[in-house]
């Protein structure tokens, strides 16, 4: 790790930890007024994370695109960027960070325990396809994470509204109907970018490995998660799965994406994908 990268990486982790705690406080202690202030804290953490990425870029000459550590660093950035963007577009959605900030915090913590050493860009990654493939992978992961966050908020808000005295912390969020639609919109966005990611990956694999599809564990698992989200869309559109069922699906389906990015290499070590091995 470069010196400033380490400093700002730790700063972003500390800030996200504080923000995560703050969000949980605002929900548990029914204090919705602090959400905007905590969102500012998330902005600060995001700036720190961006500086950490820039410091690493300065040291290595390339964006952090490979290895578990770099995936955590860059992937977390995409998720927070998405969270802040939608919170900026619609203030009612700032509270989605209650789910995405802890997720990113866990990712950063996990990444820190992996190999963060500075390495030159491996030859296999020197191609335009890397940017297309990985960029769309992160967009899809970000969108699926936001769908999960919207799902969590939907379930909490629904539970709160069923009580005699609903928690005012949920008043800031959109109505249940709008949240339900948001979950579906994030799933759709994720599915589109996932489709592009898989197609781009297949074309890249042909040049790099000589085969567009080799049933590599990560390839296979990305297909499984794509199928799961495809089923989710069909269940919503054709079978009318909405609200609670859709929210639970969005939360559970994210598990398949986490397995694809971080879990497969823990179980099998035969993947050609360079999440861990250089």
């Amino acid at each position: 790790m470069a010196f400033w990268e380490m400093i700002f990486y730790l700063v972003s982790m500390i800030v996200y930890a504080l923000a995560g705690g703050g969000f949980i406080y605002s929900f548990v202690f029914k204090n919705p007024r602090v959400v905007s202030k905590i969102t500012m804290l998330v902005c600060f953490g995001f700036i720190a994370q961006t500086i950490a990425i820039s410091a690493r870029f300065n040291a290595t000459g390339h964006l952090p695109w490979s290895g578990h550590y770099e995936y955590a660093l860059m992937g977390g950035w995409f998720i927070i960027a998405g969270t802040l963007f939608i919170g900026w577009q619609n203030k009612q959605l700032q509270g989605l960070a209650v789910a995405t900030v802890p997720l990113v915090l866990i990712m950063l913590g996990y990444g820190y325990m992996q190999n963060p050493s500075l390495t030159p860009m491996a030859a296999s990654l020197k191609t335009i396809w890397l940017y297309i493939h990985v960029y769309f992978a992160w967009l899809s992961f970000g969108a699926y994470s936001l769908a999960m966050a919207a799902g969590v908020v939907f379930l909490l808000k629904q539970k709160s509204e069923a009580r005699e005295t609903p928690n005012p912390a949920y008043d800031r969020f959109p109505s249940l109907g709008r949240l339900d639609e948001l979950i579906f919109r994030y799933v759709v966005f994720g599915f589109i970018t996932d489709t592009i990611m898989i197609s781009a990956g297949a074309i890249w694999a042909k040049d790099l490995w000589g085969s567009y599809w080799a049933w590599d564990p990560v390839e296979t698992w990305s297909l499984i998660s794509w199928l799961i989200y495809g089923i989710t869309i069909h269940l919503r559109v054709t079978f009318g799965w909405r609200e609670k069922r859709l929210a639970w699906l969005a939360v559970a389906a994210l598990g398949s994406v986490i397995i694809c990015f971080f879990g497969v290499n823990l179980v099998v070590n035969t993947s050609l994908h360079v999440f861990q091995v250089r």
């Binding site: 390495t119 030159p120 860009m121 491996a122 030859a123 296999s124 020197k126 191609t127 396809w129 109907g177 709008r178 639609e181 579906f184 919109r185 759709v188 599915f191 589109i192 489709t195 592009i196 197609s199 297949a202 074309i203 890249w204 042909k206 040049d207 790099l208 490995w209 000589g210 085969s211 567009y212 599809w213 080799a214 049933w215 564990p217 296979t220 698992w221 297909l223 499984i224 199928l227 799961i228 495809g230 089923i231 869309i233 069909h234 269940l235 559109v237 054709t238 079978f239 497969v264 179980v267 099998v268 035969t270 250089r278």
Partner: protein, 454 residues
């Protein structure tokens, strides 16, 4: 009975069941070592647990992606998809059709969750509203007494395109599998290759195509230059000249493509020129030996009765009496060679390029140290169809889910003595989003009318 069967086979429930079962098979493929993909691990496992492996073999679970169960599931999946497309086509045609029957009463017609009415400023009439709707990319029929507008009318066709893309991927995949040639060939700097089948490596053996021919190629390897920074391979440049003398640069991510074939760089080795001389200095034997010694591997070669074991150090140093490498960079390449005959070791020495070692009255000189590369050679047809399938899937999914259909039914009416635009609207997928969109659209149209009025 038959109709019931067809109904079930074409149902979404059946699709979901098949996808879940395929997903389960893929998960099995991740856990159980597969014969074709992990040959070495599979063979080791077979030796240690023959009973279990034989049991799994029986059900094709060690070759899961091509097992009868998986193939049956795929067949059923494509049958299901065909039936769905066949049944949906009339529906799709119906949904993209536009006729006077679409013009309904915006107040009483059902199925429109969005309803609103807007008082019209004096300058805004029905024709102008329709004109403004057309400007907002709505196809509109009817007049101010009653009109029907639709945006992205053809969106349902994208459903067909997305699902048709699966067939293109299947077709491209099948063509590529049946026309596929796969082989490995090791070529050193300066070697000439004419695509002879006999020159492909015997292990693993070449896979010949069911249809078509092996790659028809001819080239010479001009140079091989690996690039390493510390312990990371940052590139390799392999220059080869084809029969016409044209030079092609091959590297990681940039294979040599010709005759529907790709020569993909897979492996690097060193091919030193060793010459063995006797005491008088007479050359007994000399040859280039392709040694697989990079990344700490050990290899052997034989000259006469002597067996030479070679270890290769890219950036050699002798540290605390041990041979080591400072990095993976080819900064100071040295072979450490030990010689034996009839099981008896004679000598061991570090031999740099243009260096030598002596043993038992002989002298072994290394006069040159070029590299060799292993190419993964694959020839297959049908890739353009496969890529067209990917492209169609991407276009289909974007078109269907982003450019979805919005419909409006409207009329200009007098309500309580005031001229109003009465609107009913609906959209696919996104009810709230459409409500916002319709509100914005008609507020804009009425606002435009106010501007005209001024």
């Amino acid at each position: 009975m038959f109709n019931k069967l067809i109904k079930y086979l074409s149902s979404l429930r059946f699709t979901i069941l098949l996808i879940c079962m395929l997903g389960l098979m893929f998960i099995v493929g991740l856990w159980v070592p597969q014969q074709r993909l992990l040959r070495t691990i599979y063979l080791e496992w077979q030796r240690s647990s023959p009973g279990l492996v034989s049991f799994l073999d029986t059900f094709g679970l060690t070759n899961v992606y091509a097992s009868p169960i998986t193939i049956t599931l795929w067949l059923l999946f494509f049958l299901n998809l065909s039936l769905v497309l066949w049944q949906r086509w009339p529906l799709v045609k119906n949904r993209i059709k536009i006729s006077d029957a679409n013009i309904t009463d915006p107040v009483t017609s059902g199925g429109f969750p969005f309803r609103n009415s807007y008082p019209l400023p004096p300058g805004l009439d029905g024709d102008k509203i329709i004109q403004l709707l057309r400007k907002s990319r709505y196809t509109v029929i009817g007049d101010s007494a009653g009109f029907y507008g639709v945006k992205n009318r053809l969106a349902p066709i994208a459903f067909m395109l997305f699902h048709l893309s699966f067939f293109l991927v299947l077709l491209g995949g099948l063509i590529s599998v049946y026309t596929e040639f796969i082989g490995y060939v090791d070529l050193a700097q300066g070697e000439y290759f004419q695509g002879e089948l006999a020159r492909y490596n015997s292990r693993p053996s070449a896979k010949l195509p069911e249809f078509g021919s092996i790659p028809n190629v001819s080239f010479t390897i001009r140079s091989i230059e690996p690039r390493v920074v510390r312990n990371t391979v940052t590139g390799i440049s392999i220059k080869l000249a084809d029969a016409g003398g044209k030079v092609h640069e091959v590297g990681i991510n940039t294979p040599y493509n010709t005759d529907n074939s790709s020569f993909v760089f897979k492996h690097l080795g060193v091919a030193p020129l060793f010459v063995l001389m006797d005491q008088s200095g007479k050359e007994i034997h000399g040859a280039y030996f392709k040694l697989d010694v990079v990344k700490g591997r050990q290899d052997t070669f034989r000259i006469g009765d002597f067996i030479f074991t070679a270890d290769f150090f890219t950036d050699y140093e002798l540290k605390d009496g041990a041979h080591t490498s400072k990095s993976m960079e080819f900064a100071n390449p040295v072979f450490v060679i030990s010689v034996e005959r009839d099981g008896r070791k004679f000598a061991e020495a570090a031999v740099p390029k243009n260096g030598a070692m002596t043993f038992a009255g002989y002298r072994l000189e290394m006069r040159d140290m070029p590299f060799w590369v292993r190419f993964y050679v694959v020839k297959q047809r049908g890739l353009s169809i496969l890529y067209a399938g990917f492209a169609l899937a991407t276009i289909g999914v974007i078109w269907r889910l982003l450019f979805y259909k919005r419909e409006i039914s409207g009329a200009v009416r007098d309500i309580d003595g005031e001229r109003c635009l009465v609107i009913a609207g609906r959209s696919e997928y996104y009810k709230s989003l459409a409500e916002d969109e319709f509100n914005k659209l008609f507020a804009g149209i009425v606002g435009e009318g106010l501007k005209l009025d001024r």
